[in-house]
């Protein structure tokens, strides 16, 4: 029987397999061997089989990534400061993420789908993380009181993901540029001036 911890064990096992073999070569049998969870239990947890497992593994790793970000930046005084520190840090960690960069190099198609047409999953997670930070700033009088913050959190999550994955003309290593983005394009509509 798969215990309560089977799901994270399977996801961790799948992540290890992807790191070693890439996405195409990873099989459900490999993940069963790596996680110590039976093939039958894996299919019960992930009825969509390998595709669902890969998708959930990317989501799981992204959650870990943002959890780590939260730990690093938990002491930020307010949401603008949080974002000003989070954007360069997330960009740097994305570039240094060995598994992500390996998969991007060898199997970009699979990963591209997961972070573009399937991005609503990760956006939902980021927005859920941002919302209480925005609410805290509203209670402190930094954010306009009459604004519905859920769509704001969603907007900021989308555009932060956009900047982290493809900064384009924006240099996220330049604090003045990041400050301009955060207080202008990202939060200009809600910050009390």
């Amino acid at each position: 029987m798969a215990g309560d911890d089977a799901r994270p064990r399977v996801l961790r096992g799948a992540y290890e397999c992807i790191a070693r073999e890439g996405m195409a070569k990873t099989t459900v049998d490999d993940v069963a061997a790596a996680s110590g969870v039976s093939r039958a239990s894996i299919y019960r947890l992930f009825p969509g089989g390998k595709d669902e497992l890969l998708r959930e593994t990317v989501g799981w790793e992204m959650d870990r990534f943002f959890l780590h970000l939260g730990e690093e930046l938990g002491d930020a005084a307010d949401f603008p400061e949080f974002l000003e520190r989070a954007l360069p840090l997330a960009r740097r960690e994305l570039l240094e993420h060995a598994v992500l960069q390996k998969v991007l190099e060898t199997e970009p198609d699979r990963l591209n789908a997961l972070i573009t047409v399937q991005q609503h999953r990760v956006i939902g997670a980021i927005a859920a993380y941002f919302l209480p930070l925005l609410e805290r700033d509203r209670d402190a009088g930094l954010v306009a009181a009459d604004v519905d913050l859920a769509p704001v959190a969603e907007y900021v999550a989308r555009l932060c993901l956009s900047l982290i994955a493809s900064p384009g003309r924006h240099d996220l290593g330049d604090p003045a540029e990041v400050r301009r983005l955060v207080r202008g394009e990202l939060l200009g509509g809600v910050l009390v001036v």
């Binding site: 972070i115 573009t116 609503h120 769509p151 907007y155 994955a165 384009g168 003309r169 509509g189």
Partner: protein
């Protein structure tokens, strides 16, 4: 696939344009992988031999079609912005026009639904950097009545990001093809940021 000859107004177009249009129509119907040179020639109402006088093969036609489509859409967006009475209206018009062009684009929508690997590689990560920079530069003239070139380019970049996220990806919380919804959203969340960046350098409409 039709064997019926195209109407005269279409056959009057130059052959290379007809071939580009035919490639676009075929991809909207069959996708990129399944579209053949023969399909394109038949759709354009010309022979395979004629096709090869203009293009090296399918990849060359597809490249030419992509350039033409990009230019057509960019021109439409720039015109939409320039015709607007205020900067705020220009931002709304550009976003709504962009959303409508992309949402109604049969070839793009077919590929996103059935052959995402043909499209997504151009949208994400490094290629996404190049795409956003190019689109930002190209649509900046939509705002040059109100903003300095640098501020206009920055606005173009941001709107390209918005459209990429809210129009090309599924499950958007707001429908940018709807002008009322788009205006409310942009006015609240986007315009204050763009205006605060551009106002110092902004100019009166000429």
């Amino acid at each position: 696939m039709t064997l019926i000859a195209a109407p005269p107004s279409v056959t009057a177009l130059p052959t290379d344009v007809r071939l580009r249009d035919a490639a676009l129509a075929c991809i909207g119907r069959f996708g990129l992988a399944k579209t053949t040179v023969d399909d394109i020639a038949r759709e354009a109402g010309c022979s395979r031999a004629t096709l090869y006088r203009y293009f090296d093969g399918k990849p060359a036609i597809v490249r030419a079609m992509l350039v033409a489509e990009r230019d057509r859409i960019i021109d439409a967006l720039v015109d939409a912005g320039r015709a607007a009475p205020t900067f705020a209206d220009a931002v709304v018009e550009v976003v709504v026009a962009g959303a409508r062009e992309l949402r109604a684009h049969e070839a793009l929508q077919f590929l996103l639904a059935h052959e995402p690997e043909a499209v997504l590689g151009h949208l994400a990560f490094g290629p996404g950097d190049r795409l956003l920079t190019a689109v930002g530069d190209a649509i900046a003239p939509a705002f040059d009545r109100w903003l300095s070139p640098a501020a206009a380019t920055r606005a173009g970049d941001w709107l390209a990001r918005l459209v990429r996220s809210y129009v090309l990806m599924p499950h958007p919380p707001v429908d940018f093809t709807d002008p009322i919804a788009a205006r409310a959203f942009l006015r609240q969340l986007v315009l204050p940021g763009l205006s605060s960046l551009g106002l110092a350098e902004s100019r009166e409409p000429s």
